[in-house]
């Protein structure tokens, strides 16, 4: 009975929980109160302009930086100065990937496996798995200092997954890579995301659109948005329609406009260009709910012919720019 209860508690427990996190470096307030949770298995993109506080949040989670206020837990264990248990469950790729230049790739990975306490019996298999996964087979004998940036990043990733952690924290894993390398690393992250909880930071939008189930946008030390990439984008948009009468008579602009204004989700209707021949065009603005279905149903109901319906979302880029506008004004 007790055990069952414990299991349920473990299942509902988020992989990451951050509450009221604050951190200052001298006079610079890097985090001004950050709260979020990440359930097990989610791939989260941490998005924000430079200096927003992404790295600081990740460093706190990884146990490198100590927060001034607030609590951060990984798998229910508080991170902090003595958080060896929490650190065991984390694979961390710091920004700029500061790994030993002077070591051979294989030696380095062996060393990490040892330091990480991977049991001797499993060490070979784990090393093999990480090497294969990150495509390092061809460079095992090279010094890390000689590797290209892409390969270096793979070594950083291999180092982070060797001990099969529950949580991967990747700070700007694709920064400084060329486009081909970016595609490869993204593919690798997507694969890893199938079985692990991943938090990755980036200041590149397309990165989160392609790889993440959820986006957290941080700006100036605070979270300003949280949701699926589509949801953040879906919030607003415009549907442009061109309608004509189905039964051959000229449609009355006012009447059609009233019909469209009645469609759920539509917040504003503006006339736009029709196609001639008695057709009328309208631009429907919406804030939260995509009205296309309603438009179709209304057209059927009122004997209108839907000649054209075009959907234009506000791009994630626009959302991002709007949410982080203040940062760009700052010097």
């Amino acid at each position: 009975m007790a055990r069952k209860f414990g299991d349920r508690a473990a299942m509902s427990q988020p992989m990451v929980s951050i509450r009221g996190l604050k951190k200052s470096y001298g006079p610079t307030q890097a985090l001004k109160g950050v709260d979020f949770e990440v359930p097990k298995g989610q791939v989260v993109g941490f998005l924000g302009p430079n200096g927003a506080g992404k790295s600081t949040t990740m460093k706190v989670l990884a146990g490198y930086v100590l927060a001034d206020e607030g609590v951060a837990t990984v798998a229910g264990i508080a991170v902090g100065p003595d958080s060896v248990e929490a650190r065991k469950r984390i694979g961390y790729l710091p920004e700029n990937n500061p790994i030993a230049e002077d070591m051979m790739v294989l030696d380095f990975l062996r060393f990490v496996a040892e330091v990480r306490g991977v049991p001797k019996a499993q060490r070979r298999a784990r090393l093999q798995a990480a090497i294969e996964r990150c495509g390092l087979g061809g460079v095992l004998g090279k010094d890390i200092g000689q590797l290209s940036k892409g390969y270096r990043q793979r070594v950083g990733l291999a180092q982070a997954i060797l001990h099969e952690p529950d949580l991967l924290i990747l700070d700007e894993p694709t920064s400084g890579l060329d486009p081909n390398q970016i595609v490869e690393i993204r593919k690798l992250i997507t694969e890893l995301g199938r079985e692990k909880t991943v938090i990755l930071s980036t200041h590149i939008l397309s990165e989160v659109e392609n790889t993440c189930q959820r986006v957290l946008i941080i700006n100036d030390g605070r979270l300003v948005a949280d949701g699926a990439p589509e949801a953040l984008r879906k919030g607003e948009g415009t549907v442009t329609v061109v309608v004509a009468s189905r039964v051959g008579v000229n449609v009355e602009a006012d009447k059609v406009r009233a019909v469209l204004e009645g469609v759920p989700g539509v917040t504003r209707v503006e006339p736009s260009e029709g196609e001639g021949g008695g057709s009328l065009g309208f631009a429907l603005r919406y804030q939260a709910e995509d009205p296309r279905r309603g438009v179709f149903e209304a057209a059927v109901k009122h004997d209108l012919l839907l000649l054209e319906m075009r959907h234009q979302q506000v791009s994630l880029e626009d959302t991002f720019r709007k949410l982080t506008a203040r940062a760009e004004v700052r010097p």
């Binding site: 100065p81 060896v84 984390i90 710091p94 002077d102």
Partner: protein, 239 residues
């Protein structure tokens, strides 16, 4: 413990993969050899005392040269961030690095053993050579090296810059060596204290082949104290 072992092994192989380690080691052996044989030829004495009386100065330079890189370099390269996010306590990291440094010094010392044998066979009638001072001397050197290395490691934890770490370590070790030399200038009470604080004073006791717990306790507390300080400094890097 396993974590410390992994760190120690990694550092030792890093030592022996870098030319600097060989240069430092060769320098040490050359100077040690010179000290051994110069006392023999110049002084014509049938004793190792000459070497052991100067050896502490050698370690004042050698120990910080061995430790300067150990933490400063990780700070500079940023790899300290990775190190501190591995599931290790800070003391494990410090212990591992210290063990590697001590290992390197032990190798250096082991290479001077042939000198000792040569000198002793040249100077002694078979069966008359007194091994006490040799054993005592090497024990003393090891204890002294350990304390100097611990101090040097702290210097390396304080700075980001290897050279600064070396100079700071050198000055600290020199102070620990020199402090009893100024003891006669002070009143007895202070002089006694200064003497007690001197690494060299205790070394002379041990090197004479007299094992006194007070001397052992001195080295143990100096080494442990410096390592604890290093651990605290390293922990403070978490900001």
């Amino acid at each position: 413990m396993n974590g410390s072992l992994a760190i120690a092994r990694r550092e030792l192989s890093a030592f022996f993969n870098s030319p600097i380690a060989y240069i430092v080691l060769c320098g040490f052996l050359l100077v040690a050899g010179w000290l051994y044989f110069s006392t023999l030829f110049l002084g014509g004495q049938a004793s190792l005392r000459g070497f052991f009386s100067i050896a502490p100065v050698l370690f004042v330079v050698f120990a910080p040269a061995v430790t300067m890189r150990l933490i400063a370099e990780e700070k500079k390269a940023g790899s300290l961030e990775l190190l501190l996010t591995w599931p290790l306590e800070e003391w494990q990291v410090v212990l591992g690095k210290f063990a590697a440094a001590l290992g390197l010094v032990a190798v250096g010392l082991a290479f001077t053993l042939p000198y000792a044998f040569t000198v002793s066979s040249l100077t002694a009638q078979p069966g008359t050579f007194d091994w006490g001072p040799v054993v005592g001397g090497y024990l003393g050197l090891t204890l002294m090296a350990a304390s100097f290395l611990a101090v040097g490691l702290w210097a390396s934890a304080v700075s980001k810059n290897q050279i600064v770490a070396f100079i700071a370590g050198l000055l600290l070790c020199f102070a620990l060596y020199f402090v009893d030399k100024v003891a006669p200038l002070f009143p007895d009470a202070i002089g006694g204290l200064l003497q007690y604080l001197s690494v060299d004073y205790h070394f002379e006791n041990v090197a004479r082949g007299v094992l006194d717990t007070r001397d052992l306790l001195f080295y143990a507390s100096l080494t442990t104290g410096a390592l604890l300080l290093t651990t605290r400094t390293l922990a403070a890097a978490r900001r």
